[in-house]
């Protein structure tokens, strides 16, 4: 069985953004549940936070292939 240790490292590195994205959407859902009319405002903020947190995972996958 062959493979690349980088991928295991990437798997570990993806834990952080995974938790972060989960927290962001948890906050978004509870925000919408409390105040449904704020949905459109919250959506843009949630997607922005999601994109920023996901950027870490993306840098990780880029480095996993490059290094």
């Amino acid at each position: 069985m062959d493979g690349n240790l980088n991928m295991i490292g990437y798997g570990l590195a993806a834990i952080g953004p995974g938790i972060g994205i989960g927290l962001i959407f948890a906050a978004y859902i509870s925000g919408v549940a409390r105040q449904p009319e704020a949905r459109s405002t919250l959506q843009a903020i949630a997607i922005l936070g999601f994109a920023l947190a996901e950027a870490l995972a993306i840098i990780g996958i880029a480095l996993a292939f490059v290094l």
Binding site: S40, A44, I47, L48, F50, A51, E54, A55, I58, I59, I61, A62
Partner: protein, 265 residues
Amino acid sequence: MTVTGLVPVASETFEPPGPRDFDLPPVFGDSILFAKPALLLVLSAIVVLGFFLVTTRRMAMVPSKTQFAGEQAYGFVRNSIARDIIGTKDFLKFVPWLVATFFFILLNNLFGIIPFIQFPSFSRVSFAYGLAALVWLLYNGLGVYKHGFFGYLKHVTVPNGVTGPILVLIIPLEFFSTVIVRPATLALRLFANMFAGHLLLILFTLGGEYLLLESSNVGYKAVGVVAFLLAVAISFLELLVQFLQAYVFTLLTAMYIQGALAEEH
């Protein structure tokens, strides 16, 4: 399936799919310009253009079904992305760019699960880089146009209300974040999602095929059927991801435009 993608070569051992499955040969001739991904890009541009030409051809006060479809598609990007993010003052100028970006990316992503095409063109990273470079030029150009070169540099690197020695830390970080990380993550997000999704689909279909046809054990054959069913389920997940990535790309473009245009407070 081997690299060529022409004839599935039945091999004794299972070859897991990898990045080489994305190196498709030219459909005709030798030039990379006629490879499947490049042709798909051209096809998608034609289809998107055709869709909006057809739906806006006979505009009427009481819309026909095609006009209604076109208006819904256009209105979604115009209202829920452009107007909400950029603001009511100067969003209209950017609506054509955003609508074109959204539907171009959406269709290219959908190619990943459309039967007989089944290749998301943005799983080739160079296309995503090209698109992100356009966005980079757009928002930086807008910022320089609006604030002047040094004004824009200050606008980008110095957040409001930050003074003192902390600026030594903030300025390089903000510059790095805005000028380098933004376009790179914009491109890589789209690419990585499409790449990973397509790889997942290949893995489940090829693995299912191998287990079902090549193995002699009945239990493995049953697992092969399950793998095929999972491939169908993952196709639906991919549909969601493909839409979401087109949406996120367009949303972030709008946010970068808004950030470049924002007034100093």
